[in-house]
Amino acid sequence: MQVNIKHHAEGAVVQVTGDVDMLSSPRLREAILELAQDCAKARIVVNLEGVHYIDSSGVASLVEGLQTARRYRTKLMLVGLNEGPRDVLQLTRLLDVFDVRASDSAALGD
């Protein structure tokens, strides 16, 4: 799994590629939490286009990111949900909890 962060005026895009599992999710968690605690960022967009598998520890990282972002009054959004990740969020009833957008620009734009 690779995590790539692009900084924009409107916020940061966290581009994730590869499988998010128990081995790799701590790195995703860390990247999101660091951004969420940076008060200068109004938005964090987690782009999962390159992710076809995410396990419960990855979901937990996203949830923790969302909670931290809320605490710091930052918006956290998800983009690019493939079928696998969508399945998991649906099953765990988190699909409506997250703000899911169509693209990075849609997430950064409104």
């Binding site: 081995l23 598998y53 396990d55 909670q67």
Partner: protein
């Protein structure tokens, strides 16, 4: 799928991707279909992660065995570990819609498989996960042509 594939690894999370790839391949051999395949891979991955984290407390050197086989009408994945007795199908599973950190593994396992079965045999936990084969593949299996 003739016979079964029987795999032994150590309890290191670096093996998880290989385990998923292996189980995915078995699902393809029996033509399980995309959705059920994702579900089986997910259930097995969560069960394996729980063994690594909970049954073995993060020790990366303990034995794990994975067996995949086709039974009549189903694909069966067994996960074996030598941790303390733990039946993943006998636990109270809290509702998953809270915004809590962890605690979704057992829920995902139980909602992804068609049948689950646990046994303790000579110091091993054996967790069985089953997905029924779709109609066509199943009929082929019964005629002995599938694969």
């Amino acid at each position: 799928m003739v016979g079964e594939v029987d795999v032994r690894i150590a309890s290191d999370p670096r093996w998880l991707k290989l385990a998923r790839t292996l189980i995915d391949e078995c699902c393809q051999i029996v033509s399980l279909g995309a959705g059920p395949t994702r579900a089986m891979v997910m259930a097995a991955n969560e069960a394996l992660s729980n063994v690594m984290r909970h049954a073995y407390g993060g020790d990366r050197t303990c034995p794990i065995r994975i067996v995949c086989r086709r039974t009549s009408g189903a694909l069966e994945v067994e996960i074996w570990d030598r941790g303390d007795e733990f039946d993943p199908f006998a636990q109270r599973v809290p509702p998953p819609d809270e915004l809590r950190g962890g605690g979704r593994g057992l829920f995902l396992i139980r909602s992804s498989v068609d049948e689950g079965e646990y046994a303790r045999t000579s110091g091993w936990n054996r967790t069985r996960l089953r997905k029924r084969l779709p109609g066509e593949a199943r009929r082929e299996a019964l005629r002995g042509h599938a694969g």
